[in-house]
């Protein structure tokens, strides 16, 4: 663990009674592990490819769709109201517009939902229904992440995919937040104003750990899925889809036949010329 790097700011000192501090301490290890998944490491190195990013976007869309639905439904719940910032934070519209840029206008039909993403959604729906006080754990994990390291990832994405301008990168942009750092400070003060009994507090911290794990599983799932696809592509030597493969064969045959025909006629001509 000591060898794993983290871009997160180190926190020194004793953890007090504030939820913001407790959650950060409780998820410290998970955070490092999430940063060091294969997918995230490649991402940070600028090695994410367009197909990889498209699939990641689909998962993010599915996750935020449910998270924001549950936050909206429970917006007046005493544990959600203080941290309910739809104008500043909501990602759904941005994700939809990015998906349209990358997948085209029929993107809704082409969205993929891998297994780990589906599990994440189910968890969110469950707590939205049964225990909305736990939603803050997920909101903290995703949104504060997006406002921190997420900003750096936006620039890396732009470079890796060779994009000029901001098209397709709305996810990383928070027009309602003039200063990510100050907003995080405000968000923390709001988290700390949520009244929780001891038992509930423990549950929130546990849920935050789960939230990180769910994210890690989503990354790992995507990584596995994309490695398999890449391997298949290598074997077929022409990349997917399969259709070009067939036409390759036909092309070669045609060339060969053409050569035969040309060779034949050349030799015939030589022969007949010889006899001249």
């Amino acid at each position: 663990m000591e060898n794993m790097k983290s871009a997160r700011k180190e926190d020194t000192g004793v953890v007090g009674r504030d939820l913001s501090e407790q959650i950060k301490a409780a998820t410290k290890e998970n955070h490092v592990r999430a940063e060091n998944t294969q997918l995230m490491l490649s991402y940070q190195k600028g090695q994410i490819t367009l197909p990889q990013y498209k699939v990641l976007l689909c998962s993010l869309y599915e996750i935020y769709k449910v998270l924001e639905e549950e936050l909206d439904r429970n917006s007046t719940h005493p544990a959600v109201a203080p941290i309910y910032f739809p104008q500043e934070l909501a990602r759904l519209e941005a994700l939809e517009s990015d998906l349209e840029v990358f997948l085209g206008s029929d993107w809704r039909k082409r969205v993929i939902v891998p297994a780990a993403t589906h599990r994440y959604q189910q968890r969110l729906r469950q707590i939205g229904e049964e225990n909305p006080a736990l939603l803050v754990a997920h909101a903290y994990t995703r949104y504060l992440g997006d406002l921190s390291g997420g900003q750096v990832l936006g620039k890396i994405t732009q470079k890796s995919l060779g994009l000029s301008g901001k098209e397709g990168l709305s996810f990383f942009s928070f027009p309602g937040v003039s200063s990510p750092n100050r907003f995080k400070q405000l968000y923390r003060s709001r988290m700390n104003s949520i009244e929780l009994k001891e038992e509930e507090r423990r549950e929130v911290l546990e849920e935050a750990v789960s939230a990180f794990e769910l994210n890690i599983q989503v990354f790992d799932d995507l990584q596995k899925m994309l490695s398999v696809t890449m391997a298949t592509a290598d074997q077929s030597q022409s990349g997917f889809p399969a259709a070009p493969q067939i036409s390759q064969f036909t092309m070669r045959l045609c060339v060969a036949l053409a050569t035969v025909v040309t060779a034949t006629s050349t030799l015939l001509m030589i022969q007949y010329n010889k006899n001249d």
Partner: protein, 675 residues
């Protein structure tokens, strides 16, 4: 072959014995065909469709000596970048491109790809310079690609870099503790190792405006470098121009910009949403003076946002677009001897640039100088440098170039003649009569007129359709006997109130802030806002009053205000005293700095009330808010809190500092300060 010969040939062939039988031929060509097929079916490196090709550096023997590369390609300037997100790299690319304009050649370079130990060899190249664009990452760390270079610098104490000319631009973020640590380290370390610093360390703050910081530094950087190397800009002087003038004598007025920021006609036909490119023209409903006496002019304005769909919260900022004083604009026209109502465009000579014009075009000179250009701040050195060519008096020309140079004498001259004397562009032109620049070149060089931000002084719960602001008029006499006036404040002062006959509007939009009352009304708040810093607290107080009216339980609401004289500039006195009377303000402390012999400021009152304050902060979760002057007041207030924590919290100074810092991280100590 003509027909006869062919027939003849064929006839001959039939008669003679063929060399190969037809079957032989067929078999032969079949074999050839199969061989061809086999060759073709061998694995070919196909470009994979729809995948973006990643730039893979050629794994062949790569030049690791940047000195050799520079010599081979005739470059004298090398720009190293320590970049994580690409910003520093982008800046490095831009600097490298800039070199051309000054008759030099630059290359942007990743330190990870070269042997940095070669730095001492740069002296082998004439007029060489190493520029470093270094970002700081995490906790004062180098970016990944600069790690090796950083290690090398640390380890090699006996490295002699006396032949190395360098300059550093640092990229970072002020909200982090180790702001620009990497850039600062490199700037210092290179000097320690004997290298020669040609230009001061530039510092860019991503929490503020990194781009602006970079441009400001760059504008002074190049003239200094040119001065040092004794190089003039390449080509003739007019090639420095970035834009080309085009006049439009016959253009219809509805195609001409008359002050809009974005879309043409956006002031005529207003469409939400309203933002920095599309401001809302808010009618002014109130414009009143706040102070009773004294030589300053404090004012309160109210802007009507009915029908705009604009929403705000107390603590937010309102951005307004001011215009320059028409008298000033007219004087400029006179001094330059031009007709200000000529319609023109300035078109970018670089076709690939996204920025087609420096400001909305086509427009008139009058509009450009009134709405789009900053003509009141002292011109920067690069402006003086570029305009020097238009001074017919050689002494004037020399002085202008000198002021733009990095020499000690030049810097002193600029400081004295321009900055200390508060000369704006008009003053420069008036005091250097031989200087007669073409107005279009001047328009290209002047910076854009910026929107001004004011903390909103009202609560949307109480005033959903009105935005209140308070400000103090800026006006002062300069050493040259002129009177300089603040653009926005004088414009606000002279803004009439809208009445039935005349609509008086202000282009504005809301910029959300994070300066907010606590979520729970019962949470105690300590507000510190002397002078116009009281603005957001008027909104906070209105909101707490409203909550009380709604029957909610409201916690301690403490206000610390300060001004010069009780009977002169005690702004919002009635409102504050009323709030105290009603119990909305549980404590009101006012410092009158000049009403007695010794100066009394808000921080003195904080000290006086330390016990009560400490109880609120340490035991009752109070949120602290500071608004107003950044340089002195905010710092002094913060220091006072350190002292209170130290004394009443029985902490060491470092512990007290950490305590306050933690309050900030947790959103319990917020600042809305300006310099």
């Amino acid at each position: 072959m003509d027909g006869e010969t062919t027939t003849h040939t064929l006839t001959m062939a039939e008669e003679e014995e063929p060399l190969f039988s037809n079957l032989d031929l067929f078999l032969f060509t079949l074999i050839v065909g199969l061989v061809v097929y086999w060759f073709m079916s061998r694995k070919k490196p196909e470009p994979i469709p729809e995948f973006k090709k990643l730039d893979v550096p050629a794994p062949t023997t790569r030049e690791t000596s940047f000195i050799e590369k520079m010599k081979k390609t005739g470059k004298n300037i090398i720009v190293f970048y320590g970049s994580q997100t690409g910003t520093a790299e982008e800046f490095a690319n831009r600097l490298s491109k800039d070199a051309q304009r000054y008759g030099m050649k630059g290359m942007a370079t990743d330190p990870e790809e070269y042997d940095m130990g070669e730095l001492s060899r740069l002296s082998e190249i004439k007029n060489s310079l190493a520029i470093f664009c270094m970002a700081t990452y995490g906790e004062g760390d180098p970016t990944d690609n600069a790690q090796d270079f950083y290690d090398w610098l640390q380890e090699n104490d006996d490295e002699d870099l006396s032949g190395l000319n360098y300059s550093v631009f640092a990229l970072g973020n002020k909200t982090y503790e180790h702001y620009n640590a990497m850039g600062k380290y490199i700037d210092k370390r290179l000097e320690e190792l004997g290298a020669k610093r040609l230009f001061d360390l530039g510092q860019g703050d991503d929490d503020g405006n990194l781009e602006e910081d970079f441009i400001s530094w760059r504008e002074q950087f190049w003239p200094a470098i040119c001065q040092h190397f004794g190089v003039e800009a390449s080509g003739d002087d007019s090639s420095i121009r970035q834009y080309e003038l085009k006049e439009h004598p016959d253009l219809k007025m509805n195609k001409v910009y008359s002050g809009e920021i974005g879309r043409l006609q956006s002031f005529e036909v207003q469409k939400p949403p309203y933002d920095s490119k599309n401001p809302f023209l808010a009618p002014v409903t109130v414009n009143r003076k706040l102070n009773e006496a004294g030589d300053r002019h404090l004012m309160h304005h109210e802007l009507d946002i009915t029908g705009s769909k604009i929403r705000y919260e107390s603590g937010d900022h309102v951005a307004i677009f001011p215009v320059n004083d028409s008298a000033l604009v007219n004087k400029l026209g006179q001094v330059l001897g031009v007709d200000l109502d000529v319609v023109f465009s300035l078109n970018n000579l670089d076709d690939e640039s996204n920025k087609k014009h420096p400001f909305p075009c086509p427009t008139t000179y009058r509009t450009a100088l009134t709405h789009y250009l900053d003509i009141t701040n002292s011109p920067r050195t690069n402006v003086l440098y570029e305009l020097a060519q238009y001074a017919s008096d050689p002494k004037d020309q020399e002085n202008m170039r000198k002021m733009a140079s990095s020499s000690a004498e030049g810097k002193a001259l600029y400081q004295n003649w321009v900055l200390d004397s508060c000369r704006n562009i008009l003053a420069v032109l008036e005091d250097m009569p031989s200087l007669k620049p073409p107005i279009d070149h001047m328009c290209e060089l002047l910076p854009r007129l910026q929107a001004r931000y004011y903390s909103i002084a009202s609560s949307s719960k109480v005033h959903p359709n009105s935005i209140h602001i308070c400000s103090v008029v800026v006006e002062y006499k300069t050493k040259t006997g002129r009177t300089n006036k603040g653009v926005a404040t004088n414009w606000l002062k002279n803004k009439p109130v809208t009445d039935n006959g005349h609509k008086s509007t202000i282009p504005m939009y809301i910029r959300k802030s994070q300066f907010r009352l606590p979520f729970k009304a019962t949470n105690p708040v300590i507000m510190i806002g002397p002078g116009t810093g009281i603005a957001p607290f008027m909104g906070f107080i209105q909101e707490r009053a409203w909550l009380k009216q709604q029957g909610k339980e409201v916690g301690e609401t403490v206000m610390f205000f300060g001004c010069r004289h009780k009977n002169e500039d005690y702004m919002y006195r009635e409102e504050l005293e009323e709030a105290e009377k009603n119990g909305v303000l549980t404590q009101l402390h006012v410092a009158f700095s000049r009403d007695q012999e010794e100066k009394v400021y808000v921080q003195h009152l904080l000290k006086k009330n330390k016990e009560a304050l400490w109880k609120l902060i340490h035991l009752e979760n109070a949120h602290i808010y500071v608004c107003g002057d950044a340089k002195s007041m905010a710092k002094d207030v913060q220091t006072t809190f350190h002292e209170i924590a130290e004394e009443l919290g029985a902490m060491a100074r470092t512990q007290a500092t950490d305590y306050i810092k933690k309050l900030m991280t947790k959103g319990r100590y917020s600042q809305d300060v300006w310099s």
